[in-house]
């Protein structure tokens, strides 16, 4: 049982590095989809025998939303914005991966020091959660395209979700559904915003938005 959880966690870490290292938006979206599905598996395998209907149904819903529905929305946004690649990130891909390694070291250190009220199922769970969130932050801060920033936001949310499974196995159903709905609406709104940006400027490079100022340059 512990090996299954550990394997899922290591795969989650690897998806983090895939997100940092690949330049194709389609590959990044697929990585986020895999991450969502893995998180669903993780939450289900954490139940360890005592299955409840909400305990299985909630992770499944979350996996479907994060692994199927959101990627579909994002693929649509990608098609409409007519972009396939993150051409020039602010930080090169090699540097992003090294930053990811630093983030991993930080998360492992934090995970070893953090005192939790209850012992998580695996010692890797908290580091993975921190690492996934940090990857999300790195992606948001270092990429140009609005779409990649949405992916960073989703990675951030995935990290928070993983941390949630570490701290409290059974969150109230209402809270979890609320979070899921929030994420869904957020991505939906971001997709619409991206569509408008790309229709207005013919690209979704967020750094150019700084030009929208009254100040004379």
């Amino acid at each position: 049982m512990g090996q299954l959880i550990n394997s899922i966690l290591v795969l989650l870490m690897l998806t983090g590095f895939m997100l940092l290292g690949s330049s194709r938006l389609a590959a990044c979206i697929r990585t986020i989809a895999i991450q969502g599905l893995l998180l669903g598996f993780l939450a289900i395998s954490m139940q360890d025998g005592d299955w409840t209907i909400s305990g299985v149904l909630l992770p499944t819903t979350s996996a479907v939303v994060k692994g199927v529905v959101l990627p579909w929305l994002l693929f649509r946004a990608m098609r409409e914005a007519d972009t396939a690649r993150e051409v020039e990130p602010f930080i090169s891909y090699n540097l992003s991966i090294i930053a990811g390694a630093a983030a991993l070291a930080l998360s492992l250190w934090l995970g070893a020091r953090l005192q939790l009220p209850n012992q998580p199922a695996s010692s890797l769970l908290v580091p993975t959660a921190f690492f996934t969130s940090l990857v999300g932050m790195i992606v948001i801060a270092s990429r140009r395209k609005a779409l990649t920033q949405v992916l960073g936001y989703l990675a951030l949310e995935n990290g928070v979700y993983a941390f949630g499974t570490a701290v409290a196995l059974h969150l109230p159903v209402l809270v979890e559904l609320g979070i899921l709905l929030d994420v869904f609406v957020a991505v939906f709104v971001m997709g619409i915003a991206m569509f408008h940006i790309s229709r207005e400027f013919n690209h979704i490079d967020t750094d150019k938005l700084a030009a929208l100022t009254d100040r004379l340059r």
Binding site: Q3, V10, G21, N94, I98, G100, L104, L124
Partner: protein
Amino acid sequence: MISGSLLPLILAMALAPLMQAVITRTKSVMAGRVGPSLLQPYWDLRKLLLKGAVYSRTTSWVFQLGPTIGLASVIIALTLIPFGGFPALSAFSGDLVLIVYLMALGRFCTVVAALDTGSSFEGMGASREVTFSALAEPAFFLALAALARQTGYLSLNPVLAAVSTATWMRAAPMLGLTIAALTIVFLAENSRMPVDDPATHLELTMIHEVMVLDHSGPDFAMIQYSAALKMWLFATIIVGVVAPWHSGNRWIDTAVGLIGMLVLGIATGLIESSMARLRLLRIPQLMLVAILLSALALAL
């Protein structure tokens, strides 16, 4: 200290060219060709050994020494590698480090010999070889360190003896990461497909092959042979971790090991047939991933 056996060394020296032939045959079959005979590498070596060597007047003794030291260092490294149920000829605590440095010594001599020719192509190849090896070496070191940490030994003999199905049950993610890292190192160090194309002779894209263009006759035979032995060395370590069955009967274990080598050879051929070479600029990223995978395996 376990009493050593000559068998791993003999197997390596006898069968290493055959493994290259298996890769070539797999690629031929995948491309719909018949392919050369499985004994072709041996005939090539024999042909080269019967020829005389030609030395350019600009080269010095460094050029002639390169292939000899290259071959010698690989053979010394092979005396430290166990195979199947048979322990290596010699083993001592810390021989993991020696293996990596012996490979580095062989590479250094090949590079120096290439620079000795004064050819600009060889200098270019040497520069590339050193760049990518410098990135592959930490990955190899970290992967070995991860194995050492998991098993608690610093010598390859007990490490490979200690990796068992029980280790897989206990630390599957860590071993998986180590194998992934070792496979990338294996492909890079032996100049196989995603990193280097062994079939091409275009100077602009070659990495390893370009360094040995000026060698001929017995010198070239030594270079080819040490390349085959080097591949065997890396493959033995990978197979030892992937197929960790210890039945108790040494001969059965050795047979399992040989089957593992055959499978790895075919897998390498399949990778070569299905993948394109990476752009040179992308290779550091691949090596970086290898370093990361092995570092992650060590940290777990």
